[in-house]
Amino acid sequence: MIDTLMTALATLLTLEHMAYMLLGVSVGLVIGVIPGLGGIAGLSLLVPFLYGMDPISALGMLIGLVAVIPTSDTFSSVMMGIPGSSASQATVLDGFPLAKQGQAARALSAAFISSLFGGIVGAFILTFFVLIARPLILMFGSAELFMLALFGLSMVAVLAGRSLPKGLAAAAVGLLIGSMGAAPATGEFRMIFGTEYLYDGIPLVIIGLGLFAIPEISDLLRKNAAIAERNALGSGWFQGLRDWWSNLFLSIRCSGFGCMIGAIPGLGGSVVDWIAYGHAVQTTKDNPHFGKGDIRGVIAPESANNAMQGGALLPTMLFGIPGSGSMAVFLGGMVLIGIEPGPSMMGPDLNITYSIIWSLALANIMGAGICMLLAQPISKLTSVPFQYLAPCMIALICFAAFQATRDLSDLVALLAIGLVGIMMKRFGWPRPALLIGFVLAPQAETFFYQALQFNGWGFLTRPGVLIIGALTLASIYFGLKNRVDDTGPTGDAAVTSHTSRNVQIAFALAMIGFFAMALWDALDHSFLGAVFPLGVGVIGVVFGGILLLHLWRGHADHPAFFDYEIVGDHVGNEGNSWFWTGPAWLAGLVAGTALVGFYIAMIGFFIAFLRLRARASWLRTLIMTVAAAGFILGLAYMLSLNFPSGLLQASYDLPWPIR
């Protein structure tokens, strides 16, 4: 084995292979920085170049890309509060508050060193684990996978926010949105409301961007200021490294979790950052201030998400089963260069396996190093007045959103979910709870049904089920004890929020209306297709009802009350503009797309925004518009992408890109 290890390392360390890996790493870093674009887009960029490449170089390039996306996606999570990819949503919770307090440098350096460490731990575990992984992975049957989905859902307890009914209702909304589309047991289509788009359910990227990016952009747009309230990066580079060192064991634990969760096929890595974050909260005793800028809230998810990529390679290589969307593209890439994954990866092809693992470790080192170097220039972006940054962010986010199905409906869905996100943020509904519910809904339902089919109710007595069940109960217990409140200052917040009680009741009623709609829809379906949405809908109505009661009858200082428009830190500042500014601009872009297609609409949007909102000179408007149009065009060209088309394209046959 040592021989194979060394040979693999030696092949890797040639100039050519390193150069290809660096190329992959660079593309990965750029893709990670752009919010919403993740591994799938990155790999799709590189796959066309694979043809005829030497397999080891090609693999190095692909691994380089996959490995560093969870490193560089931290930039926008920390500095703008917008998750750079689905892997670092949890980083936002504490990373962004740290940046607002002028400690971006500390948060970033802690994040990068955690990413680096997580990646290496992932590679290290793989090195030894790969030979014995097959039987271990096979121990996780449908029953155990169902329990793991429940374990993931238990993180809602940590993230439910100040008002538990609110948090549980939010999770129920997520579970219901996640159950839209084909039912796993019968294939019947639920809650599609006659629209073809909803047949496949709403894509994760839309939910992620809608819940986290749109509210943040909309918020920043109103303030007429730069993102960084003080100096952009601040000092604290070494502080961040020291923070990581003093939380080394947290980092090790989270890396281990990340690697394990990634290695279990079927669970998907989308919640690994939340599980790590939840774990950090549950195990911290001394002076936690999670949600308001606790460095441990950055270290935990960042350690886990890089390690997860390593873990996710296992089922891909050993069983040919991709654990995530980006692993699916990676698997396609492997087949294209003539490598068929399977048991031979730990037999005759072991050298390939090890070169993949070593590439993973090297890429993590490269990625974190480059990120450290780039932190200074990239952070300058946050001192740019947001009116100039906003159109770029909006265009990029729309671009990322329609990667999902390349349709106008993606943008409409983004706008709709964005509005929900804005209201949830305003009224203190925990968005992470919704997201976790959304991601785990299909897993929970599918695996529960399969476990019942395979094992009957007897599945509840399997040892693995009992162990994970006990872990879940412990997680709920510690979670409820250390609940995170990311809604801002406590104390008299609730008292003053009481004044907008009626609006808060109206929003809660709207959410209950959604539950009612789901219940009504469920009545049309067969037992197997209806039982999950029915159950969740009832839970939602119950907790929504309790919340209503709190809002209606509760004392003025009841924790259910929250209105960011009354207690937010922007209140009382000069120059706050209209609450609906952000959504209105986004709606304008979507409407424009419906008329003339995305590309023309985006150019018009840039000009209109820069002239009317940012009051830029014509020269600056022109330069920025051309640059942005060129960038988006280049990206679309490389991805072989047709932009969503509108009415204009329906009546005239136009050339690409305005086709």
């Binding site: 019968t186 047949y199 991709p322 399969q450």
Partner: protein, 369 residues
């Protein structure tokens, strides 16, 4: 509809540079097909990284090399609606200039054959360029007491469990096949792919499964060697006359028809078998097909078929084809035509029979119109 300049992706960018040149070649194209300086969009109605995407990305550079004028061939993923969205788009928009082609899969054929309301395409309109067959092997667990393909009869009356991707997915073929050969199979739905299903088999949750040929060789053969899986039969392939014969990759294994005979004592026939056969052809021998839109001139179709014939001799093709295509040859001309016809036509009675059975036994609704 105005016939604006028929520029393409690459054309749009290179317009300023190559306008004059493109014009010259453009006029020449009417006499002899040449795609010089053009970009061909290959629409794949599936996501990046899937089987169809990999298949197209394997073929695209070779097609580019051998098509007259060496155009750029780009794979455009237009996913959604279980592949109906991108296919609808092709049906509605593609012009008969040879610059847009469509790659379909069994998952595109099945909704069409079943009459899914989302389908707004008509196969009969299109011109077939190439068909890419595939095959597969059904195997069982030794816990059933079966030790060789000849003992398949032992399965009668046993409770078998199969991990399925859904009653209207490609797993409809095993569903119909098992049903008519008298096997009692419980189909557990919701699996993400055949790989997922194989994992459930390895975990002991299911006791009957099938894998496509290359996955079988790579992942199941080791299980067979270790004695934890027993092959039963291959789905078989079609010969030039459209008869079911043994899969040349697995000459020692009986094909489905032979297994059927062992199980039931009769040669396969009757409306149930015809229904099975229609979906089998659409799912295996004619699984992946490349189409040009209707009204495409015969010269363009010929140019494509000549390019495909030429590319099959390319050393790059030879070196990598096994990983992507398994052990089957991609076909053009008459062979492709035959598969096209058999794989995309079903009589209304047979369709109704299958749809009614799915509704009655599995509660499948194909969505409302």
């Amino acid at each position: 509809m105005t016939d604006f300049i028929t520029t393409t992706r690459r054309g749009a960018i290179g317009l300023a540079l190559g306008a004059a040149a493109a014009f010259c070649f453009g006029t020449a194209a009417s006499a002899e097909v040449s795609f010089e300086g053009k970009t061909i969009e290959w629409i794949i109605p599936f996501s990046a990284g899937g089987g169809s995407d990999t298949w197209a990305r394997f073929n695209a550079p070779l097609l580019s090399k051998y098509l007259p004028g060496s155009p750029t061939v780009v794979v455009v993923n237009e996913l959604g609606g279980g592949s109906t969205k991108g296919t609808n788009l092709f049906a509605a928009r593609a012009k008969p200039d040879g610059l847009t082609i469509l790659g379909t899969s069994g998952s595109t054929q099945f909704p069409y054959l079943l009459g899914d309301p989302r389908v707004r395409y008509e196969y009969a309109n299109w011109k077939i360029v190439m068909a890419s067959p595939t095959g597969g092997v059904v195997y069982t667990s030794p816990s059933t007491g079966v030790t060789s393909p000849a003992e398949i009869g032992k399965l009668a009356g046993q409770k078998l469990i199969y991990a399925s991707q859904g009653a209207t997915s490609l797993d409809l073929v095993p569903l119909l096949g098992f049903k008519q050969s008298g096997l009692e199979v419980q189909h557990v739905f919701g699996f993400k792919g055949r790989g997922d299903g194989r994992l459930a088999f390895e975990r002991g949750e299911t006791n009957i499964d099938y894998q496509t040929s290359s996955a079988y060789i790579k992942n199941v053969q080791p299980l067979v060697d270790a004695g934890t899986a027993v092959p039963l039969f291959s789905w078989g392939v079609l010969d030039d006359d459209g008869n079911l014969v043994r899969d040349p990759t697995f000459p020692d294994l009986p094909h489905f028809g032979e297994a059927y005979q062992t199980m039931t004592g009769n040669a396969p026939s009757g409306p149930e078998y015809d229904a099975y056969f229609a979906f089998f052809t659409a799912g295996f021998p004619a699984q992946k097909m490349v189409f040009l839109p209707k009204d495409t001139s015969q010269e363009i179709v010929d140019a494509y078929q000549a390019a495909i014939t030429a590319m099959k001799a390319d050393p790059e093709y030879q070196a990598n084809k096994e990983a992507v295509l398994g052990t089957y040859e991609q076909v053009v001309g008459k062979a492709a035509d035959a598969l096209f016809k058999k794989g995309t036509v079903i009589s209304p009675e047979l369709r109704k029979q299958v749809v009614d059975m799915l509704a009655a036994d599995y509660g499948v609704k194909l969505g409302e119109d």
